[in-house]
Symmetry: C2
Subunit: 300 residues, 2 copies
């Protein structure tokens, strides 16, 4: 299972009552943070998640509304007595910016590592997450992220018993380890679908996004503008309209779509939701500071 | 007159419901900002002051909770179409930090000037303000600020008439200009007390603060800790207890004292106020996002 908590709906600047878009994810006791603009530490407190288990920070890009909360987050991690390393992933330029912002936050009692990624990287994160990136279309280098949590195949006791494997070792087999001469595939069922969360912000729409976010259990997607009339402005500024975000969810057969990163010019977020639902009826507005748990059983 | 608006009560980190300490001041249509931590732009919006008239930003020191809101503030000034220069004053190191933070905020359509000050400087600000600084006692270079707004002497029509100065020129004389052969002192009364606001945060207490803030109409002072038991901690960390702040106000015969910059460990700000009032009964907790106008007539 995977816990997800959006921390805000806003893009560009924090507003009274509308915190900047950022997202917490948790798997296997490990917390990941996706983006952190000005004020993210405050909504994080409202959400009630502990800071300490956070070993991974993902930056989509280096615009201020996605990174400026870093000193405060690192300060909170320092205050929480974290000793384990923290790794920041982001596009080209992340190293310099992260080091500078980290220095502003004060002394850090843990290793801070920075990994700069170019489009289409795949790597393993703590918590059993496979991370895949895609180069987005924004005004600066910007990454979309896909997090896949694999689901262990069903263990079949009836096939295991004839091998004489002790029950105590069944878990190891299910996890994919070989025990003695017995291979996992000897005693487990076919592969099972895991969980997939895709995080797309900031970007204009382009068709290659569809296969990237395909079959997501949750697609967190920017929807900067409510109305089709803003389509040209969205293209120019590297953003999407609500209907473009919804079209992506529909084309990719996403199970859920959380809309976020609304322009300050969107006075009523409901207008974004209404527009999106004309294309993808299951669309939702992200619910800031509300934790939802995605379970394997919920997947189609 | 001088408008003052505290933007938050918090020190060290923003909390839900407690924004970081920062303060807006306005005189003669010119707005000054004193410190800007993470989230200051949000409370600024709540306060309802326009961003555009802000030509002066004062940094007490370069800890994150006093400066990290700068990119957002500069972004708001850029969005407001400001064309006039903005000057940032602060201690040694301000130039580098301000330039870096400014770059994070994006393109700026006005000149950004940085002036680094050492203790005991005096200079003129827009809006008729005389600014004086003092070196505070904190863990890093830190400045206290005193803003003095002079009050023009009373103009005496009975003394002016015999000189035959046209009524249209009376204002020039009152402002201190010589008109023809007539000097201001020929037609005005004795000097009158102006308005004084002192801004002291972050600092431990030291006796030289008393003459610096003497006779302030408003003393905005940090009060990091509520209880005398925290006195040693306050000294070590370069902060004051509530009773120290109140003692400063009393010794300096301040007219009003606004307490701010409370430690996150202070759960109930009322405890800070209660402690301060045992020493200085007129003490107040700052009222975030509430504008108060200090008028010449109110001065003793």
């Amino acid at each position: 299972m995977l816990d997800v908590c959006l921390l805000g709906l806003g893009g560009m600047m924090p507003l009274p009552g509308r915190a900047l878009s950022a997202c917490l994810l948790r798997s296997g006791g490990e917390t990941m943070l996706f983006d952190c603009g000005e004020g993210t530490q405050v909504t994080w407190r409202v959400a009630g998640w502990p800071f300490k288990p956070t070993g991974t920070i993902l930056f989509s890009h280096l615009h201020a509304d996605h990174i400026l909360g870093l000193p405060g987050i690192l300060f909170q991690l320092a205050q929480s007595d974290r000793g384990e390393p923290v790794t920041i992933y982001g596009p080209q330029g992340t190293y310099e910016v992260a080091r500078y912002l980290a220095a502003l936050g004060g002394w850090i009692p843990f290793d801070l590592r920075v990994v700069e990624l170019a489009g289409d990287a795949t790597l393993e994160l703590p918590g059993g997450i496979q991370l895949t990136t895609i180069e987005l279309r924004h005004r600066v280098p910007c990454l979309g992220y896909k997090l896949d949590l694999a689901r262990a195949p069903r263990f079949d006791p009836d096939r295991a018993r004839p091998f004489g494997v002790p029950v105590a070792d069944w878990k190891r087999l299910q996890r994919g380890e070989t025990v003695g001469d017995v291979r996992p595939e000897d005693v487990t069922g076919p592969p099972r679908r895991g969980l997939r969360v895709a995080l797309i912000t900031d970007s204009s729409y382009f068709p290659e996004l569809v296969p990237f976010v395909e079959d997501s259990d949750l697609l967190l997607c920017e929807a900067m503008y409510a109305h089709d009339a803003d389509l040209e402005r969205a293209e120019q500024r590297g953003h999407m309209t609500a209907r473009q975000a919804a079209g992506l969810a529909r084309a990719a057969r996403a199970r859920r779509l959380w809309l976020t990163h609304l322009s300050p010019s969107v006075e009523d977020p409901q207008t974004v939701l209404d527009a999106a639902r004309t294309v993808f009826p299951a669309a939702e507005l992200g619910q800031p500071a509300t934790t939802e748990t995605l379970r394997f059983g919920d997947a189609r």
